[in-house]
């Protein structure tokens, strides 16, 4: 088992024929992901990487039965693409695109929610169910199958965390990179119960960072609803206030959104909080041995 995606998931790629879309679609296919086609306006009817190209998401869904879309559309057009996916009945859009205007994502997410479409990202590495299905840009070889679920705002910290878990002799069920923008799709609060319900997941790693209050919401949720052990790391303990640390959402405004308040809230909720990402693997081993 796993969450969100597995070996049977049918995926289309929006922005299929572009440079990024092509490169990563190929990598995903090599990993075993069922990429069943893609969408590029005005290229409908062509074949790309041996898969059909469609003009619209509607056409693609009708012809392929895809339920998930991996979105590589450039920032200026990404909201349009996400809303198109929602309108066409896609169940989950994984938005890799970095640099989408906040106002656009606000609109696109509200529309997706209204249409019952889940979103992941934007500005994220995607989602991977180990050894089954990779929808995104992460290096697949790091993610060995196992019993640890992972939720992270950061791409490279996802790899770092997964790699440590594997080195400790464990592995990953599903890892979800939720992205570091101010407005994102699925977050800890929606993903934690999925891992709680997944029989194969025995422990959960959550990696957060400064800015916003998603981790605080997660802490409250964990306290009341999650029985599986959770290990957390919050990046940016040494980040200065008022500075944007790479990710558009990683900023301490005033006194809100600091690493400390998030770490305290998680600790109070019974989460094993580590001070350095170098300790994620060991902490997972510890909670699993209990």
């Amino acid at each position: 088992m796993s969450i969100l995606v597995n070996k049977d998931t049918k995926v289309i790629v929006q922005g299929f024929t572009g440079g990024e879309g092509t490169f990563h679609a190929e990598q995903c296919m090599a990993y075993g992901t069922q990429i069943v086609g893609g969408v590029t306006p005005n290229k409908g009817g062509q074949a790309h990487l041996g898969k059909p190209v469609f003009n619209t998401v509607k056409d693609a869904v009708e012809a392929t039965g895809a339920t998930v879309s991996m979105v590589f559309v450039p920032p200026a057009f990404v909201a349009d693409a996400v809303m198109e996916a929602a309108d066409a009945g896609i169940e989950l859009a994984v938005i890799i695109t970095e640099g989408a205007p906040v106002r656009d994502m606000q609109k696109a997410k509200a529309y997706a929610v209204k249409h019952g479409m889940m979103t992941i990202g934007p500005n994220c590495p995607g989602v991977i169910t180990a050894e089954e299905c990779k929808i995104g840009i992460m290096p697949g070889n790091i993610f060995k199958k196992g019993n640890v679920g992972l939720i992270s705002k950061s791409g490279t910290l996802t790899y770092e965390g997964a790699n440590q878990v594997v080195k400790e002799g464990y592995g990953i069920t599903t890892a979800v990179g939720i992205g570091g923008d101010p407005i994102i799709g699925l977050s800890y609060k929606q993903l934690l119960p999925m891992f709680e319900a997944d029989p194969e997941t025995e422990a959960i790693v959550m990696i957060g960072e400064i800015g916003g209050d998603l981790e605080i919401q997660a802490a409250k949720f964990i306290k009341e609803n999650i029985t599986k052990p959770v290990v957390a790391f919050i990046a940016g303990q040494t980040a200065p206030k008022g500075k944007r640390m790479g990710h558009a959402g990683a900023i301490v405004s005033g006194s809100a959104g600091t690493a400390k308040e998030k770490m305290d809230a998680l600790e109070a909720a019974g989460v094993k909080v580590v001070v350095s990402p170098a300790e994620i693997g060991k902490a997972v081993a510890e909670v699993l041995k209990k």
Binding site: A76, V102, R103, Q106, K107, Y159, I207, T238, H247, V275
Partner: protein, 392 residues
């Protein structure tokens, strides 16, 4: 991206958000001309820098004659203004804004920001104008009225009513004026892809009119591509030159005050690396995300920028190679050390795809000050030791 007060007020004026009349000046002569053109017998001379707290720092002066305008413009232009937001080094004032005096009866606060939890813009208003709003939020949160506006429906009458009743504005004419003010400000926020707008204070005059006495605006960098008119307002002298230089090469750089330079791929891991250095007893000198394509050129540029900081005693290169293989990155780092004279120890941790090959490459290259590390903890430890001169 942020803009100056006078620029924010230009935008306000375009939307009919009332502001006092004012003219920006680059020289003392221009300041005097501006005061004459504005007329009247009272003016405010205001330093234009991208930081709050200007009044307390001596950057805002009330002038009661043309001579005083001249005197204050002379004082303020060219001064290094230090406020709680500039840091101890302060900011050089290159422009002043000459504004007509206003009849202040009440000082209020009005702002628009993104409420990340609600995922909507929120209008914040308070009767406690002129104070730092974060302080108000902490000490007397009930004095802040927050009204979230769903962009799908835009600013409606009820949003306005919640604001004026929340603020205790009872006069009907004043209610109308305030609601009009707030709805226009919301429109500015939406149309211009602003990240935040803050008017502190927003004043009520003796005649019951509302005026933006101050104006602060920040914009969503990701949306600037569709706002050339905002991009044109960029004042590069307000931006950190090293951060700007780094950005040209796709690097995200922020200077800190420690001793260990950091070069990392990915913003999260970059912060995590700083945190780990701190945890191990060292101090990070910077945040630096080299992005997804760590190659010889970007790494060389990264070294160059890090080494501009004279406090740097060691550099920790922490790369988690994913799609980009570690052996390639190792060769890139070696090449970069030839392009830039790196005079401090460089601890290199490469993990991920082809990490072992990378480690071999570094070992075989046998460059005196390039020290390989096996993982994040090992690398951070070695960097901390190297900065203290304890690494042989």
């Amino acid at each position: 991206m942020n803009i100056h007060e006078y620029q924010a007020k230009q935008i306000f004026a375009e939307y009919g958000v009332p502001t006092p009349r004012g003219i920006v000046a680059n020289t003392i002569e221009e300041a005097v001309e501006a005061a004459k053109e504005l007329g009247g017998n009272i003016w405010v001379v205001k330093a234009q820098i991208h930081a709050g707290g200007r009044g307390l720092g001596g950057g805002v002066k009330l002038a009661k004659s043309i001579e005083e305008v001249e005197k204050y413009a002379d004082e303020i232009l060219g001064m290094t203004l230090v406020t709680h937001q500039t840091g101890p080094e302060g900011k050089l004032v290159q422009k002043v804004y000459i504004e007509e005096g206003a009849d202040i009866k009440d000082e209020l606060y009005l702002g628009v920001v993104l409420d990340r939890a609600k995922e909507m813009p929120v209008i914040m208003a308070s009767t406690e104008g002129g104070m730092e709003i974060e302080k108000v939020a902490e000490e007397t949160p009930d004095k802040i009225v927050k009204v979230a506006v769903d962009p799908a429906i835009g600013f409606q009458g009820f949003h306005g009513r919640e604001l004026v009743f929340g603020l205790g504005i009872t006069d009907k004419a004043e209610q109308r004026k305030f609601i009009d003010f707030a709805s226009k400000l919301y429109q500015v926020y939406m149309d211009k892809d602003a990240e935040m707008i803050e008017i502190n204070p927003l004043i009520k005059t003796g005649t019951g009119d509302f005026l933006a006495l101050d104006g602060k605006m920040g914009f969503d960098d990701s949306a600037l591509f569709r706002h050339p008119e905002i991009e044109a307002m960029r004042d590069i002298t307000e931006e950190d030159p090293d951060e700007r230089e780094a950005a040209k090469y796709g690097l995200s750089y922020i200077a800190l005050d420690g001793e260990i330079g950091c070069m990392v791929n990915g913003a999260g891991l970059a912060m995590g690396t700083m945190d780990t250095i701190n945890y191990m007893g060292g101090t990070p000198a910077n945040f630096l995300d080299v992005g997804g394509k760590a190659n010889a050129e970007t790494v060389a540029k990264g070294f160059e920028i890090i080494l501009k900081n004279p406090n740097v005693k060691a550099i920790f290169v922490n790369i988690f190679g994913g799609i980009v293989r570690c052996d390639r990155i190792a060769n890139g780092i070696l090449e970069a050390t030839k392009m830039v004279d790196v005079h401090v120890p460089v601890i290199v941790r490469l993990d991920g795809t082809n990490a072992e090959e990378a480690s071999e490459i570094l070992k075989n290259a046998n460059i005196a000050n390039v020290i390989p590390a096996t993982d994040l903890a090992d690398g951070a430890q070695k960097a901390v030791a190297a900065a203290k001169g304890e690494l042989s």
